[in-house]
């Protein structure tokens, strides 16, 4: 293994584990019925929603190659599939990949 890559992986995993470990450590004194717990629950959901919205609207990596309109169309159509399939998670997920490949190729 190349030393640079190994150091980068170790640094990345340390930075990731830090937040997880501090979360586990500080949650020891928090009761699940407390207001603090409820607040953190809202923070967690809002943070995840912000991350997902940002990934779709301002993506990093390969998704940059798809236009904003094609990403939006795929997401809206997939949500439509999600609701008509009685909130099944698998159909819209598979649909999104196929839809993105088609839209990016032909539209």
């Amino acid at each position: 293994m190349s030393a640079n890559i190994v150091y980068a992986i170790l640094v990345t995993s340390l930075a990731t584990f830090l937040s997880r470990f501090l979360g586990a450590l500080t949650s020891e004194g928090i009761k699940e019925t407390s207001k603090l717990f409820k607040w953190f629950n809202c923070l967690a959901y809002a943070t995840l929603a912000a991350l997902i919205a940002r990934t779709i609207i301002f993506p990093a990596g390969v998704l940059v190659d798809a236009s904003y309109y094609s990403r939006s169309i795929v997401v809206f159509l997939s949500l439509f599939v999600f609701f008509i399939s009685k909130k099944n998670f698998v159909y819209p997920t598979i649909f999104s990949a196929i839809c993105m490949a088609i839209i990016n190729n032909y539209i």
């Binding site: 293994m1 190349s2 890559i5 980068a8 992986i9 640094v11 990345t12 930075a15 990731t16 937040s19 997880r20 979360g23 586990a24 450590l25 949650s27 020891e28 928090i30 009761k31 699940e32 717990f37 409820k38 607040w39 953190f40 629950n41 809202c42 923070l43 967690a44 959901y45 809002a46 943070t47 995840l48 929603a49 912000a50 991350l51 997902i52 919205a53 940002r54 990934t55 779709i56 609207i57 301002f58 993506p59 990093a60 990596g61 390969v62 998704l63 798809a66 795929v74 997401v75 949500l79 909130k87 998670f89 819209p92 997920t93 598979i94 999104s96 990949a97 196929i98 993105m100 490949a101």
Partner: protein, 234 residues
């Protein structure tokens, strides 16, 4: 030690009809292909997936390496992107804490905190006795990490056969899956509002501060949702 039946019950959650297995595998196929293009070998790619086990963090590491960033820069960039794991841990571990369980289980299993495992646990914890939730959680985490490793291996092995359209298809799968899961989880007013405010504020704040947008949007959106939720209850 770990209660086997609860561990395997958690492990089997990856095989259910609404499981994140497909989305996770596809995302890690894309990550595996990306690692190969960056010059990683197969051991390094799997090592990275097992040790980091967080997609945004892995992407940031890959991008930082491409521009030749220092180790300190990589650490800070990944830490900021993955700081969302802190509120996720604090909003999950109190549900699993039991005085009869040893602390090492909690410190070890905090590594499994990621969107997929977190959402599965949040949907199912009420069906598991509190004493054994940690074993169930370790089962879920082991299953999602296993799937991620398989995805990384497949992506690394078949990267030459993945064209641009296939990579795009794999990349959109993850946000769509998690968006559906978040909408599915929105069953109470505070959670629904948190998801709504986070979705609106995330991209808006990104225009002002790309690095801190997720955290700031999470804190503002989550606090607003909490206050509205508390107000509606009272």
């Amino acid at each position: 030690m770990i209660k086997k039946n609860f561990f395997f019950k958690g492990y089997r959650s990856i095989f259910t009809h609404d499981s994140p297995a497909i989305a996770l595998t596809c995302c890690f196929i894309a990550i595996g292909a990306l690692f190969k293009n960056l010059g990683f070998n197969i051991q390094e790619s799997i090592f990275s997936t097992v040790l980091t086990y967080a997609l945004p963090g892995s992407l940031v590491m890959a991008e930082s390496m491409l521009i030749g960033a220092s180790l300190l820069n990589i650490f800070l960039a990944v830490w900021i992107v993955n700081a969302r794991l802190y509120p996720m841990a604090v909003s999950l571990f109190p549900l699993m804490m039991h005085k009869s369980q040893p602390k090492w289980k909690y410190y070890f299993s905090c590594h499994f905190i990621a969107i997929s495992a977190w959402l599965i646990m949040k949907s199912n914890y009420k069906n598991i006795p509190k004493k054994h939730r940690i074993d169930y959680w370790i089962g879920i985490g082991s299953a999602t990490v296993s799937v991620s490793v398989i995805g990384t291996f497949l992506g690394f092995s078949f990267s030459e056969h993945l064209n641009k359209d296939m990579m795009l298809g794999l990349a959109i799968l993850n946000p769509v899956y998690f968006l559906c899961m978040m909408i599915g989880a929105s069953k109470t007013t505070p959670v629904t509002l948190s998801v709504l405010f986070g979705t609106i504020l995330g991209p808006i704040i990104y225009l002002l501060s790309p690095e801190w947008s997720i955290l700031i949007a999470g804190i503002i959106g989550g606090t607003l949702a909490y206050l509205v939720g508390e107000h509606s209850v009272s």
